[in-house]
């Protein structure tokens, strides 16, 4: 979050972090628990005003807020941006923190298919000096899928293994979705390598520790 904030500030924006914000309700929504999702989402909506764009450092949260929240609550839509799409349109300069670094980028399914954002994060990483290593099947889900990860843990982990194996030759695997990040990183911690980091961190601090 601090990395996302610093990137936005570097791009010349003033960042407001509403302290009353909570989860957007997606975990419950995707598991079918609409009433629970609605309860949480209502608080979310109270915390965010509509007079400035909402930027989300998560492809799936951005999808929830942009696509499903208005339908779930019957509320006005937000102007909501996924972080990399917002930074790409801002066209700010990015310091070359990833010069000489080879990075693999993992598309979050929501970001790729619901928001149609695939090029922006890759372009940002390249602008930060990174050399991109293509994943063998960039369209494949990493296996997180919210409650899917604990309902079908064996399949979920096997999908993560395939994704992680594809990033073998990169210095790190970068993703713009905290769900994918948590799952892939947790699996990599069990099996060793590669490192998995958030796009905001890669851009703000560089992918190498």
């Amino acid at each position: 979050m601090a990395d996302a904030e610093s990137l936005l500030e570097q791009a010349g924006y003033e960042v407001d972090f509403p302290l009353e914000q909570v989860c957007c309700g997606q975990p419950a929504f995707n598991a079918g628990h609409r009433a629970a999702a609605r309860r949480v989402a209502r608080t979310f909506v109270r915390a965010f005003s509509r007079d400035r764009p909402v930027v989300c450092a998560s492809g799936s949260c951005a999808t929830m807020v942009a696509h499903y929240l208005p339908e779930l609550l019957g509320c006005e839509p937000y102007e909501v941006w996924e972080l990399s799409a917002f930074l790409a349109q801002a066209e700010s300069t990015l310091p070359a923190r990833n010069a000489g670094c080879s990075l693999a980028y993992h598309d979050s399914c929501h970001m790729l298919r619901e928001l149609g954002i695939a090029e922006e994060p890759r372009r940002l990483l390249e602008r930060s000096g990174a050399q991109l290593v293509p994943l063998p099947r960039p369209d494949l889900c990493c296996g997180f899928g919210g409650t899917f990860s604990v309902r079908q843990p064996e399949i979920s982990v096997a999908m993560a293994d395939e994704k992680l194996a594809g990033a073998r030759d990169a210095d790190a695997l970068v993703t713009a979705d905290p769900g994918c990040l948590m799952h892939l990183r947790a699996r990599a911690a069990r099996t060793g390598a590669p490192r998995v980091i958030h796009l905001a961190t890669a851009l703000a601090r560089g992918a190498n520790p």
């Binding site: 979050m1 601090a2 904030e5 972090f17 302290l19 009353e20 914000q21 909570v22 989860c23 309700g25 975990p27 419950a28 929504f29 995707n30 598991a31 079918g32 628990h33 609409r34 009433a35 629970a36 999702a37 309860r39 949480v40 209502r42 608080t43 915390a47 399914c109 929501h110 298919r113 619901e114 369209d139 494949l140 889900c141 296996g143 997180f144 899928g145 919210g146 409650t147 899917f148 990860s149 604990v150 309902r151 079908q152 843990p153 064996e154 399949i155 979920s156 982990v157 096997a158 999908m159 993560a160 395939e162 948590m182 799952h183 990183r185 947790a186 699996r187 911690a189 069990r190």
Partner: protein, 458 residues
């Protein structure tokens, strides 16, 4: 109908076995990759695949929303050409009619072409129980029948069988060794099946589509067995899912541009047969009797509601080939007949959610299926809707419902939300010992949380 049902834990159990079998994994990877590449190339060669998909969706939905009229039109046209129509509400009714026809004509041998609907109603078992021998004439299905197994892919039913497996099965039939060379195997299959074609009393097929205006049935195959099964025996029975109608031959042409391309990557299958009525005076081939059994078997449950779009499915298998969960879990996990995302949506709707409660959750909701569907069924959105129904109809466990309610009570209050993210730091060491945390840590470490929360830095 209950043949499709499965208990909660079955999916995970079958998937575990598939994951532990490197041969299953390789077979699924190779087959889905090949089919996926085929479809992608075939779609790219179309001038405007998006417009074509929209037209196909429109045709399917227009027909389905007025299905009674189309069924009546089809029936009238089919019977005017001398065919007989039987409407079967259930699998049992369909089997009963098929067995009756076979008995009436004194049939001993039934030659079958590939049909998922026939798998759905388990007609082979019904025929065998009546002392009639059904023989599958599609190569993949024939292999499975010899092995006494069920299809694990809609289009490629026997992807896990190796040449050696097939040689063993064929050798048993011939009573002499058949070598596992492809030419040898093809020759053996031809030898064995040719006898069936020539001596079968009844041909039993599915139907990919039926045209309501002309009363025609359409059957697409690649091995030619469909042609032999529909023209050599004196009696032909076609089993048609009640939703597989299209209004006109022009509409059929739109769907035929998409079905083979989406299924196998072909512009057309080797054989596309459209037949209208039994043999007429002066014609040299074709059956003397032509029956169509129109099958409901739960399909009516989908009509007019939120799930009606699922009736647009043309059984091409494109959603299986893109599905990462299907690739890992294998087709058997979804049940004995249908598999992949289309099964995860369709089966609970056919048999009732409480009889297939794991299927709507057998997906990471990645949405690849929706993008691949040639008739634009929003498969992953329908899965979301089914999950909602699981909760609202209280099929989801009380524990799960209570968990989410408590979660929402806490996280809808900013103070408790903050407290919970703080507590998460304290509790993370215990997290791996109970409930979902324990399942999570079967193959993963627990997340390492930042030392300080972003909100505390401000």
């Amino acid at each position: 109908m209950t043949e499709l049902a499965q208990v909660e834990e079955r999916f995970r159990r079958v998937a575990q076995a598939s994951l532990a079998n490197p041969h299953s994994q390789e077979a699924a990877d190779a087959a889905t990759q090949r089919m996926l590449e085929g479809r992608t190339t075939a779609w790219a060669d179309l001038p405007d695949v998006e417009t074509l998909r929209e037209r196909a969706h429109e045709i399917r939905m227009r027909t389905i929303s007025d299905l009674d009229r189309h069924l009546a039109d089809f029936t009238a046209a089919f019977e005017a050409r001398g065919g007989k129509v039987h409407f079967a509400r259930t699998a049992e009714e369909a089997n009963e009619y098929i067995v009756d026809v076979c008995r009436r004509v004194g049939a001993q041998l039934v030659a079958k072409s590939k049909s998922m609907a026939s798998e759905e109603i388990r007609v082979n078992e019904a025929l065998e129980a009546a002392g009639i021998r059904p023989v599958e004439c599609d190569l993949g299905e024939y292999i499975l029948q010899l092995a006494q197994e069920h299809p694990i892919h809609i289009i490629l039913p026997a992807i896990e069988k190796t040449a050696a497996d097939v040689a063993e099965l064929f050798s048993a039939v011939e009573g002499a060794p058949v070598s596992p060379e492809l030419e040898e195997l093809a020759a053996a299959a031809r030898r064995q099946l040719r006898k069936v074609f020539l001596s079968a009393d009844v041909g039993l097929t599915g139907a990919n589509f039926a045209v309501s205006k002309t009363g025609s049935l359409c059957l697409v195959t690649n091995e030619g067995n469909g042609g032999l099964v529909t023209s050599l025996p004196n009696v032909h029975i076609a089993l048609l899912g009640m939703e597989r109608l299209v209004p006109t031959l022009d509409d059929l042409a739109v769907l035929l541009q998409l079905l083979p391309r989406s299924a196998t990557g072909q512009k057309l299958t080797s054989y596309t047969r459209i037949f209208t009525g039994p043999r007429r005076a002066g014609e040299v081939d074709g059956p003397e009797e032509l029956h169509v059994v129109i099958l409901d078997n739960g399909r009516s449950n989908l009509r007019g509601g939120r799930y009606e779009e699922m009736l647009a499915c043309i059984r091409c298998g494109a959603c299986l080939n893109v599905c990462p969960v299907y690739r890992k879990a294998g087709g058997g996990a979804y049940g004995p007949v249908y598999s992949g995302p289309m099964a995860a949506v369709l089966v609970p709707l056919l048999v009732g959610l409480e009889r297939a409660p794991a299927l709507p959750h057998a997906s990471s909701l990645c949405g690849a299926c929706t993008v691949a569907c040639p008739v634009k069924i929003p498969l992953h959105e329908l899965l979301l809707e089914l999950r909602k129904d699981l909760v609202e109809e209280r099929v989801a466990s009380a524990r799960e419902r209570l968990g989410f309610t408590l979660w929402s009570l806490a996280w809808s209050r900013p103070s408790l939300y903050r407290a919970s993210t703080f507590l998460a730091r304290l509790a993370s060491r215990l997290g791996g010992r109970f409930g979902p945390g324990r399942t999570w840590t079967l193959g993963r470490e627990l997340p390492v949380l930042a030392r300080r929360r972003f909100r505390d830095l401000r």
